[in-house]
């Protein structure tokens, strides 16, 4: 029994560590790719087109100052002669390149290379990580731009990924030098690979049980970073931490990483602009704003339950976090799988939508801008559901082969959309029906009365021409006056039906009270109405729906309820708007309501139509009725709908 528990704990720790590792790795990859992109942007500076070293020196100095990770930037000719280093005045004598391996790699591949932790530099008293980028003009490699990155800053990034307290994260270069370590950064300066890391590397498998320098029992996992020539990230979870609630920390960690993926994109843009406009202040401000938005982004992404992923188009494979796996129904970290072939991912998507994902990738790589795609996937337990992937490929056009992005479950949105369009269609036809009714009323009722009036006038004219007796003429005029009054009333009623002007003039509560009073007089059914709250801030559409609800409710009472008493309550409160309409009539079986009201005549929309209108405002209608005991309609409109139009 004890064994099983311990084993479960360990497996939980392993899963947690693997998940953390994925997050940290994505984050560091994003950071490195961001720095590479900035370096490439600097390498493509217009100042180097004409070999204007003076301008380039100023530009590079500015950017080094604005990048926390950058200690220096240097320009070296292919023959290893250093021509410029922003740590030294322009023109000062400079020593040749010390670390040749990565330098030669750039000469060979003409691609950016991230070197390992370099030798100790006496001049600045530090060891730097060199990021080397080719400066190519007219197809010729003119210089190698070398950026000296500060290892301490990698520690800071590692720290910012939000690993839970007590967990250890280590960033190791291709030669097993520790570049950064959290929580203890001194190791980076010591420079020696720790036994735990070597152990982890030697075994080459995830999750060995080992000990840290401090002698703490830990579970470690590691992962080689993409695009870094063999750098790796290691995460260790102290076994003693197992009982701590780690899930919360993991969520925070997750949020930070996803945000940074997006930020890498944004920062690249910011820097490019900075170079173009040469405004350092703006860059600093942007950085501050981005830090702020990173915090907000982390919260938002956490709340939005997004999965992060990385799609390497050249390797044709995906990596992703646990939530990414869960969203796609992949087995996830537990199975030990951490990467999936593109074919495998495509197979999960409903066939007609696979092309959309392909064109999403094409769009990302061609445009370099953010893009998104929506597609349904099929799962055994959920059936078909919709996901949205959004992402962006970084770098210059020729090097855009990795897309970083997030994955979101949008099934609820999709369903809502479908429901909404259905509702709108129904509503449109209901409106059509209503307009037809009004048109008929104008023709049949008012049109006929006007005909009567003009015929009567004609008769009067003829009668007067014949010089008939005054008494008959006066009677005729009286009748015509009545007809005119009738026309006035009919027009007023029809206009009121179209849009009760009282709503605008008096407010919705008073307008409803007026309507109710009128209705009560006309049909002799007692209505007791009570309102509560202020109606002055209600948006017009809500007011109109409320009015129609009362109209429709009273019409139903008249048609079906055979009631002698109606009670209406209208309450506007902070938690929304409530309308309750109760009668003491015969009642009915609410389950058969569809049959009873869907074919509502007298021009109304029917209760089902009203349900749709209320639903469009995000509200609900409930009906309670017992045979013989009257019925009650409850309509609720949420506070959001009451804010909408303000």
């Amino acid at each position: 029994m004890a064994y099983i528990t311990a084993d479960q704990e360990r497996s939980y720790a392993r899963n947690a560590a693997t998940e953390a590792l994925t997050q940290v790795a994505h984050r560091i990859e994003a950071e490195i790719s961001r720095e590479t992109q900035v370096a490439e942007t600097l390498a493509s500076s217009a100042a180097l087109d004409q070999g204007n070293l003076q301008d380039f020196y100023l530009e590079a100095t500015r950017i080094v100052a604005s990048r926390p990770l950058w200690e220096t930037a240097a320009l070296t000719k292919p023959d290893r002669e250093q021509v410029l280093n922003v740590l030294r005045p322009l023109g000062a004598p400079l020593e040749p390149v010390l670390e040749t391996e990565s330098f030669n790699a750039v000469l060979r591949t003409r691609k950016p290379v991230l070197g390992g932790l370099g030798p100790y530099q006496a001049a600045i008293g530090k060891r730097l990580v060199s990021l080397r980028v080719p400066v190519v003009r007219e197809g010729e490699l003119r210089y190698v731009l070398t950026i000296g990155l500060l290892p301490d800053q990698f520690s800071t990034i590692l720290g910012q990924t939000g690993l839970p307290v007590g967990w250890a994260g280590t960033l190791v270069d291709a030669k097993d030098n520790i570049v950064a370590r959290t929580p203890d950064t001194k190791a980076a300066k010591a420079g020696a690979p720790t036994p735990s890391v070597q152990d982890a590397m030697a075994r080459g498998s995830n999750a060995p049980r080992t000990q840290t320098r401090e002698g703490i029992d830990v579970e470690t996992v590691h992962r080689v970073l993409a695009g870094t020539e063999g750098w790796s990230v290691h995460v260790g979870v102290p076994v003693s931490e197992l009982n701590a609630p780690v899930s919360r920390s993991l969520r925070l960690l997750f949020g930070g990483t996803t945000a940074s993926v997006g930020l890498a994109i944004a920062l690249g843009l910011v820097i490019a602009r900075e170079i173009a406009q040469r405004r350092r202040l703006e860059a600093l401000q942007s950085a501050a704003a981005l830090l702020d938005s990173e915090k907000r982004g982390a919260l938002a992404i956490d709340a939005a339950e997004l999965g992060t992923w990385r799609w390497d188009l050249s390797a044709n494979e995906f990596t992703g976090c646990n939530r990414f796996c869960a969203l796609l129904g992949l087995p996830g970290a537990r199975s030990g799988e951490s990467r999936w072939s593109s074919d495998r991912i495509f197979a999960l998507i409903e066939p007609p939508h696979r092309a959309a994902l392909s064109s999403f990738a094409t769009e990302c790589t061609e445009s370099g801008r953010s893009s998104s795609v929506e597609f349904p996937v099929q799962s055994n337990d959920r059936g078909e559901y919709w996901l949205r992937a959004a992402g962006r490929a970084e770098g210059p056009p020729s090097r855009r082969h990795v897309i970083h992005g997030v994955l979101a479950d949008i099934d609820i949105l999709k369903r809502g959309e479908a429901e909404r369009s259905h509702l709108l269609r129904r509503l449109a036809s209901a409106q059509e029906e209503e307009q037809r009714r009004i048109s008929r009323e104008l023709h049949d009722q008012i049109g006929q009365t006007v005909t009567g009036l003009s015929l009567g006038l004609k008769a009067l004219e003829q009668g007067l021409a014949k010089g008939g007796d005054g008494g008959a003429a006066t009677e005729q005029v009286r009748w015509l006056e009545q007809l005119a009054a009738q026309i006035g009333r009919d027009i007023h009623r029809t206009a009121s039906d179209l849009r009760p002007t009282a709503i605008d003039d008096l407010g919705i509560f008073k307008a409803i009270e007026a309507y109710v009073a009128e209705w009560q007089d006309r049909f002799g059914v007692r209505v007791d109405i009570q309102t509560f709250g202020r109606d002055d801030s209600l948006p017009g559409d809500v007011a109109a729906v409320l009015y129609r609800l009362v109209q429709e409710g009273l019409t139903n009472v008249l048609k079906h309820a055979n009631a002698s008493k109606v009670s209406i309550v209208l309450e506007k409160k902070s938690d929304g708007l409530a309308l309750v309409l109760e009668d003491n009539g015969v009642g009915f079986d609410p389950d058969s309501i569809g049959a009873a009201t869907s074919g509502s005549s007298r021009g109304g929309l029917g209760l089902s139509g009203m349900k749709e209108r209320v639903a469009l405002l995000g509200g609900t209608i409930a009906i309670e009725s017992t045979s013989g005991k009257g019925s009650t309609i409850f309509a609720r409109i949420p506070p959001e709908a009451l804010e909408a139009a303000r």
Binding site: E481, A484, A485, G488, R489, H492, T501, A502, D505, L506, K510, A511, E513, A514, Y515, A517, E518, Q520, D521, G524, R526, D528, I529, Q530, F532, G533, R534, K565, S567, I568, V569, E571, K572, K573, S574, A578, V580, E582, A622, E624, T632, F634, R636
Partner: protein, 217 residues
């Protein structure tokens, strides 16, 4: 007898022409000003200082109600008759509140305008007979909330009554209090009887008195 001086504000030329014709045939009134918008109306009324201003409630720029309010403030000596198509009783009170002394429906203007002018110029309030008729036949008497037998509400009964006042359905209340819908109905009926409440609106009024409904924001 000096004729009663009248100013007229209406944006419909046909109505203006009709009323002008009507007044011309009456020697006891004199039309001294006309306007077709709220703005020009206010100016005309204050300029020619008539005894009575007849104002259409729906004007293109601002409402007749607003015009009445302004006239009442700027030239309080001018008495106002509101001319309107609105037969809703609900309009009457706000219009009188705005400072009008007469409420006249357009459809009865032909017969009633002179009577309205006469009444108002003598200091009376004039209400269109069609409206007054309705007001008289108003609301079949609602049973006033009776005394009830005055019994104290049990805790459950009070809970149910409070939730009913707050607009919840029986089913929701049943869920909230974890009792059956049938029980909710019983509690509600018993509580209503104790407090002499005859309708849901009565219950809400009772709830407002008890302070059960949170003041709206």
């Amino acid at each position: 007898m000096t004729p009663v001086r009248i100013a007229l504000v209406d944006d419909h030329p046909v109505v203006l022409a009709g009323i002008r014709a009507l007044l011309q045939s009456a020697p006891e009134v004199e039309l001294v000003g006309e306007a077709s918008t709220g703005d020009t109306g206010l100016k005309a009324i204050c300029d020619c200082a008539p005894d009575i201003a007849v104002i259409d409630l729906s004007l293109p720029d601002f409402s007749g109600m607003e015009l009445a309010r302004r006239v009442n403030k700027l030239c309080p000596d001018v008495k106002i008759i509101a001319l309107t198509v609105h037969e809703d009783r609900a309009y009457v009170h706000p219009v009188l509140e705005a400072g009008a002394r007469g409420y006249l429906l357009k459809r009865s203007a032909g017969e009633e305008l002179l009577r309205a002018i006469r009444a108002v110029s003598q200091g009376d309030i004039y209400l269109d007979p069609a409206i007054a008729e309705k007001a008289a036949s108003a609301a079949p008497q609602l049973a006033p909330p009776g005394e009830g037998d005055g019994g104290e509400l049990s805790r459950r009964e009070e809970d149910v009554l409070r939730l009913v006042a707050q607009g919840f359905s029986n089913k929701q209340i049943a869920g909230e209090l974890e009792v059956s819908v049938k029980s909710v109905e019983t509690y509600k009926a018993r509580a209503s009887e104790k407090k002499g409440l005859h309708s849901r609106a009565d219950i809400v009024r009772y709830g407002i008195k008890q302070g059960w409904l949170a003041p709206p924001n």
